[in-house]
Symmetry: C2
């Protein structure tokens, strides 16, 4: 008898509400603050940047659930519900008594979970009369998700892409163009800050910090334009809860519930997305599920960072939040092949970690690629390097079960496929990938430059 | 109310038999012949190349169905049943009264329908004691499907890849390596023919013909090694019938049946795969479904070729078959961006066409890419350039319905995604793609070199 591996909910069972965990937490999250005054940033300060509905979601503590607008559900239906897959081939290869499930978000148009938030972000902005969204992108993951979503709602999409990636990694750029997005190598002459920076040739290749600044300026200077972020913020994690919600319903249908939920963690959105619905059960129903956030040793925000007030970006444009951080000037070593390069961590995930509601581990990249290849050879999907951090940890947990004989149920988020990341696999096969020790001194140096904030538990 | 768009059969409804159309046809297909004698090639001549079970399937006229071995079904379950999708977003954009469905084969590990046959080919060879499979690949579509399948059955996989592609399109090569395949730039020093050819520097970049010769030699010279083909042959089309079978069951579940079935057509395997189950209904049940094979104007095998005996490859290694052909020396213009470059056509599809059981059209590539982009912008999937020929024809048929008011049900095969073909989209957006007129003179010239075969309706 063939074992059923793939569980796809019918569209009628797709959740029509996101889970607002801010409602459930025993205390309010600390707000973004004004670095000049250390006082909470007034909502008005964010209005030139973000849709009003998104700002309301960002600080909403009164609604347990937020309705997913029907227009958003309709575009979700292009790829959702996504499959929950029982990793029978991997289990067989590992000879583990554990049950391994993964939620596969790589079926989205842009190939990752990012579309779950780009769609509602485009929708709310459109509804509020905005005609253009500006954003930054590094390798292009977020840019392609936003480009796809803007096209669906008839918005223009302006993507400032770090010039080094624009020139060296053209394929994601072409994907963005296919969806109608306008991709601009950054720094550009489209913004004042870009023009100024271009005067120094050293800036020519760009950086994520510069691209953020250009996109933010574009939104500040144009009434018809807003800025968008693909991770970190509360409303982004809110939209991503559909991952965990669907996983929970599908697992219920097969009579299962996870003992461990695992996701990679950069800005925290795919982690928050799969974890929050189960973490809510821990809080409300006294469940004892373990949650593991997995980060690269090259950028060990949770495992080696400090819980402190820090800017959201290198350029100090995004106001300070209380979060785990390696310091806004921290840059991961170029030997690190994948994403998960953010110096900070979503304030929400940071709160979970600080309250010991979740665990975190950091992995070396060679182990991550070894296990990504094992996964590809068994389960057949070539995973994104980022998602492979979750795979590696799921394998490690399953191997522990093999030692102890425990029959745990392990769930992880396969947040994306690796079709646009084959160059990283090439480095791995070519033997040019290196492991990277915890960059203690670099972190120590970067942490010296945290802003002085005197709000709540201010930085020392 | 959200409209359900995606119909994925439960695993329990995945077909467990392939449809052997040779059983149903009113007459036996003409065999491969020995070019020296014009006599049918004895089965023994193929044994050094192919598994016995596959040769039996190639000529089987006595069984209406062939059981899909359980081991093959198990590996199929990694990605099958594939979704049948109602193109609601495209329909809305076209404002057509037609219903458009597509079967999406791009969810397979290697991203196309090719895995449907690589899996059974690997299985039967393994079962017969073969330890290594050799094949050729151009851009890498077939090579990655075979590499994936060999890995699942513990076979070595040796892929001779045209050197120009090996060097210029590294990503598919890395995909093959990820699945454990050994990719060798061709011509190589691993074979006698490769060594000889390498002596002339002009051959350095290779060609599909050379790569075929190397793979065939590898199989002829080594008892543990067989050769495999990814299209054209009857047993390949047999394995692909699962596409049409699943489509038919899924359509039945929603109470629909196609008026038109469309697929792109190169060697003919994805076309045969989706068409055969419905074409059998035309023969047996008197249904009147129309079938449209779509080819590029750059390689118009059915629409401009001759029904004649010809070699299967440029190097005259694959014995002559009766088929539509542009002549084995025909090479499509380099301005043509996608696949579908084969000079010949599957003998089975050729038979259908010759008997007027199917129609064929040829499309210019700029129209194909225009409609591929419309499809990506509406349905969200970036399609392979090959599959986009089917998309364009489906759109054209839907637009005809808009004119006439007919509510036809159109089904097409979306045989693969375009994640590894973004360079072709780049050419399109960059304006460097050109249309290409029917290459009449080139065809005339190539048709002068058909072999002289005096079997049945021999070549003139």
């Amino acid at each position: 008898m063939l074992k059923n591996r793939s569980f796809v909910l019918p569209l009628s069972k797709m959740p029509n509400k996101w889970i607002n965990i801010l409602y459930t937490l025993p205390e309010a999250l600390t707000p973004l603050v004004d670095p000049a005054t250390s006082q909470p940033l007034p909502v008005e300060a964010l209005l030139p940047l973000f849709a009003k509905s998104l700002i309301e979601q960002e600080i909403n503590t009164k609604d347990e659930f937020i309705d997913i607008p029907e227009e958003v559900q309709k575009v979700y239906s292009l790829y959702r519900p996504t499959p929950l897959i029982r990793a029978t081939f991997l289990e067989e290869a590992l000879q583990t008594p554990a049950k391994i499930y993964y939620k596969y978000e790589g079926v989205s148009p842009s190939g990752s979970h990012k579309a779950n938030t780009s769609i509602p972000q485009a929708y709310y902005n459109k509804k509020e009369g905005i005609t253009k969204l500006a954003t930054e992108t590094g390798a292009g993951q977020w840019g392609s998700a936003l480009s796809f979503a803007c096209n669906q709602f008839g918005l223009e999409c302006l993507i400032f892409m770090v010039r080094a990636s624009f020139e060296q990694k053209p394929y994601r750029k072409i994907m963005m163009q296919t969806y109608g997005g306008k991709v601009i190598p950054s720094p550009s002459d489209k913004t004042k800050i870009g023009k100024t920076l271009l005067e120094d040739k050293l800036n020519y290749n760009g950086s994520l910090g510069i691209a953020i600044s250009e996109a933010v300026e574009m939104a500040m200077e144009n009434n018809d334009t807003h800025y968008t972020l693909g991770s970190v913020l509360n409303h982004v994690l809110l939209h991503q809860t559909i991952i965990g919600e669907e996983s929970k319903i599908a697992l219920e249908e097969v009579g299962d519930y996870p003992d461990i939920v695992i996701a990679c963690c950069g800005g925290g959105s795919n982690f928050g997305g799969i974890v929050i619905p189960f973490l809510k059960d821990n809080i409300v129903k006294g469940k004892k599920t373990q949650f593991i956030a997995v980060e690269p040793t090259a950028c060990p925000t949770l495992t080696k960072g400090k819980y402190a007030w820090d800017f959201g970006d290198t350029g100090k444009l995004i106001p300070p939040a209380l979060m785990y951080t390696l310091g806004h000037s921290f840059m991961p070593s170029p030997v690190h092949a994948g994403g998960l390069r953010y110096h900070g961590e979503s304030p929400l995930v940071s709160y979970f970690y600080n309250k010991k509601m979740i665990d975190a581990v950091a992995l070396q990249q060679i182990e991550v690629f070894e296990k990504a290849v094992l996964f590809a050879k068994t389960e057949s999907i070539i995973p994104a390097p980022e998602s492979s951090h979750a795979i590696a940890t799921a394998i490690n947990e399953a191997l522990k079960c093999k030692e102890t004989g425990e029959k745990k149920t392990i769930l992880f988020n396969l947040s994306g496929h690796g079709h646009f990341d084959m160059a990283a696999y090439e480095s791995y096969f070519g033997g040019t990938l290196e492991n990277y020790d915890h960059p203690e001194e670099k972190i120590e140096e970067a942490l010296k430059h945290l802003p002085q904030i005197n709000f709540g538990c201010g930085n020392d």
